[in-house]
């Protein structure tokens, strides 16, 4: 009886966005009297961080500090349309819509600044700290707060912009099923190191090496956390979570945290994560979506590592001690005595 160590890998290509009857998201942006740019969206942040990404895209495009951006996702009844935050589409669709809206608002902002500073709008630039200034003449400048006040009370202008990203509908070719389903694809590879106890059948994931090609990591800390939190979920799918043995009769199935097995903080592998950036031509500042894919690669990587460790090839999740032991038994039966 021994603890057997094994290593396995798996790779995944994952589509960004989906395409049924066309896939749009819209964004509206306007400046308040004191120069806060309100980004109105119907894109729901359920914790994944789309508000942060939308604020970053707006601030970068406007050339203003992120503190000047306020993202409002308050109400899907009254906000501009969004298909929703799913299909790993949020950063891509919403990011693009916000950039388009912010670019239009930036145009108006520079026009009003041109009137205030009595110069041509094409000669203006933003310094990223809140000032709009004449290129090469840094003391000819106006702060966005004063600018917004002037726009409202002197010039009668709205500093605002509209944005939309539409993935156009693509119908499948009847003969081949061929269609244009996504906007780009992110890629990942995970290497898992596991230890299999051939007496108890327990599998422990010791280490995960995650490499993600994400187009552009708009927020590297959030992207890394998505990779590692998602990998934890992958470990959870691989080794713990199931509605079996009750499925398809769910009468006594686990319905809550008390009955549903998940790895806890003591079951964590050491993770090493690397982000690779190959900007996507149609992505917001090159970004692709990596929402859902992060739970995927660890599962087959762990299956392959179990095979490497003990020769048992498991094809149903989760890889429970029972399944491992049955696999080991089957291998022993095959062996000539």
């Amino acid at each position: 009886m021994a603890k057997l160590r094994g290593r396995g890998h798996a790779s995944v290509n994952y589509p960004t966005g989906m395409n049924l009857g066309g896939d749009p998201s819209q964004a509206l942006i306007h400046a308040t009297t004191t120069g806060t740019f309100v980004v109105s969206l119907s894109s729901v942040d359920l914790g994944q961080g789309i508000k942060t990404i939308a604020a970053q895209c707006a601030a970068e495009t406007l050339g203003l500090p992120i503190g000047n951006v306020l993202v409002d996702t308050a109400d899907t009844d009254t906000g501009p349309h969004c298909m929703g935050t799913f299909a790993s589409r949020g950063s891509h669709r919403v990011g693009n819509a916000v950039i388009m809206a912010a670019a239009e608002a930036r145009g108006v902002m520079l026009e009003v600044a041109a009137e205030e500073l009595e110069v041509d709008a094409a000669d203006l630039e933003t310094d990223g700290t809140g000032f709009i200034m004449v290129k090469g003449a840094q003391d000819r400048r106006i702060h966005v707060t004063d600018l917004a006040l002037a726009a409202h009370f002197k010039h009668g202008r709205t500093i605002s912009g509209r944005g939309v990203y539409l993935k156009e509908p693509s119908a499948p070719v009847p003969e081949t099923g061929e269609m244009d389903p996504d906007s780009c694809q992110a890629h990942a590879c995970t290497v898992a190191v596991v230890e299999v106890d051939d007496e108890t059948g327990v599998v422990e994931v010791l280490e995960l090496f995650n490499t993600y090609e994400v187009g552009r990591a708009l927020n590297p800390a959030m992207a890394t956390q998505q990779v590692e939190g998602g990998a934890w979920m992958g470990v959870s799918h691989a080794l713990f979570e199931t509605t079996e043995p009750y499925y398809p009769v769910r009468d006594h199935g686990p319905r809550d945290f008390a009955g549903y097995l998940m790895p806890g903080p003591a079951d964590l592998p050491i993770q090493h994560s690397l982000l690779l950036e190959r900007p996507a031509a149609n992505g917001p500042y090159g970004a692709k979506g990596i929402g859902e894919m992060t739970a995927n690669a660890p599962i087959p990587a762990i299956a392959n590592a179990i095979f490497d460790a003990c020769g048992v090839r498991l094809t149903s999740m989760p890889f429970t001690p029972e399944r491992v032991l049955r696999g080991l038994d089957a291998l022993r039966m095959e062996e000539p005595c």
Binding site: L46, G47, Q48, G49, A221, M222, Q225, Q226, E228, G229, A231, W232, M233, D256, F257, A258, M262, G264, P265, A266, L268, Q271
Partner: protein
């Protein structure tokens, strides 16, 4: 049994409110006192997101009938912040990026407070054991463990007299 007036010391202040028989501490904190940092995740003691300190001990407030702790002292996340300043655990959670959706954060911070109160120099295993009743579906736990270790370090450094 009629409703009754319950008195508790909440975050250092005596509070009185009317509670229906069997009302949970969590429901009273959230609905009668407006303290909504403690969250209702599972309402059955399995997720830890409702954790508050009762007389210094971490408890799942969803399982505590409020009359059983009458006249006791309760500390919630709202009572951790003193004078608008984040404490070491809160700021370490931010600096170590130990939160994503944030739903588990309040419970995690409260178990960390209880741990550091009784053990200022915990090992990683101590931290893991302390948070093992708390579910996080986002972070993979690692950043939370790191944040609590960091908070302990900062708190020890502050305790050293200059």
């Amino acid at each position: 049994m009629p409703s009754q007036i319950v008195s508790l010391v909440v975050n250092g202040e005596r509070r009185e409110f009317i509670a229906a028989p069997g009302a949970t501490l969590l429901a009273c904190l959230r609905e009668s006192l407006g303290l909504i940092a403690a969250k209702r995740g599972c309402a059955q003691g399995a997720c830890g997101t409702c954790t508050v300190l009762v007389d210094g001990r971490p408890e799942a407030a969803c399982l505590v009938a409020v009359e059983t702790v009458a006249d006791g002292s309760v500390r919630t996340l709202e009572g951790v912040t003193s004078g608008g300043e984040l404490d070491e655990v809160q700021s370490a959670f931010i600096d170590c990026f130990a939160t994503q959706c944030g739903f588990c954060t309040s419970g995690m911070i409260m178990v960390a407070e209880a741990l550091l109160d009784r053990n200022p120099d915990p090992s990683e295993d101590d931290v893991i054991e302390a948070i093992s009743g708390n579910v996080c579906r986002c972070t993979g736990y690692r950043p939370i463990v790191i944040a609590i270790m960091e908070a302990a370090r900062r708190r020890r450094e502050q305790a050293v007299p200059r």
